[in-house]
């Protein structure tokens, strides 16, 4: 059922949103890891305006949709905050992500956009991100497995 429930209108909205999102990432130079590294080294604080500008738009639209909207027309999903629960993983993951971001200057969305500006070496980083996502999935699966089997295993 997964594939057919997303109709043409749904995909067109995703494409339009993705195009504008990627256009914005390229315009703001976030697709250039050097610019992100410049921010982290306090050479250029422009990134504050990128994140701030984006959060102002999403914050405004999310709040207005919740106040005056009802359901999303293409899915029937109700507008409302979708808050992720807080636990120590939020901090642990933030630290690991922060080390990676500080080393490379790349994050997922900006890395995809980086392909679009012609930055082919970014494929190394994207390959690394898939490897990292796979490793943590494997590790979590193993841990869940061994927890289920109890301490007697191995």
């Amino acid at each position: 059922m997964s594939d057919d429930e997303h109709g043409l209108g749904f995909m067109l909205v995703v494409i339009l949103g993705g195009l504008i999102f990627g256009f914005g990432l390229a315009l703001s130079n976030m697709a250039r890891p050097e610019v992100v590294i410049d921010f982290l080294q306090f050479d250029d604080f422009g990134l504050v305006f990128v994140m701030g500008g984006a959060a102002v738009v999403t914050g405004t639209v999310f709040a207005l949709a919740e106040l005056f909207g009802d359901k999303a027309p293409l899915t029937g999903a109700r507008y409302g905050r979708r808050l992720k629960s807080f636990d120590k993983n939020v901090v642990v993951g933030g630290v690991i992500f922060g080390v990676g971001w500080g080393i490379s200057g790349i994050c997922p969305g900006a890395a995809y956009a980086s392909i679009g500006v012609g930055n082919y070496p970014i494929l190394i980083a994207i390959g690394g991100m898939f490897a990292g996502a796979y490793l943590q999935g494997l590790w979590r699966a193993r841990r869940a497995d061994s927890a289920a089997r109890g301490t007697s295993a191995d």
Partner: protein
Amino acid sequence: MTGLTPLLVDSLFPNGIAHYALGGLLIGLGTAIIYLGTGIIAGASTFLESTLSYVSDLPRFNKAKYVTSRDWRVVFTLSIIAGAAIYTVTLGDGWWVSDVQPWRFAVGGVLVGIGTRIGKGCTSGHGVCGVGSRSRTSFVNVATFMLVAIGVAQLLQAMGVSP
């Protein structure tokens, strides 16, 4: 031409502010359009796990939320690439290639992949969508990765790693 303000602006923002702010507004607009149409808050990093479900049998990557969303997430990511390419050939100043050393991309990429998945989001999921939703979880995550990334980048700079 006197006064501290223009001087400060120049030193804090040597490349100006306009394209940063305008780019940020568009990033938010792209997210907002998808949200208004579908109710989905589209973070960029879930693409990693949902795409792994095409090639891995691991149950972790084949949860319903990944399998049912993997098709549009591929479309979303390809559209991000296309949007950046459209900027590059229209308003941009041509194709561009980074000078950052490949080992930084490799090591950083792996850690980013692990970290976003353990931390439940990335710069777009937490930084743009979560902060926009006034989520305390996202504020904590963003503050954490900002501070750590600044420390790491400054350390590398002090060690003479460039670019």
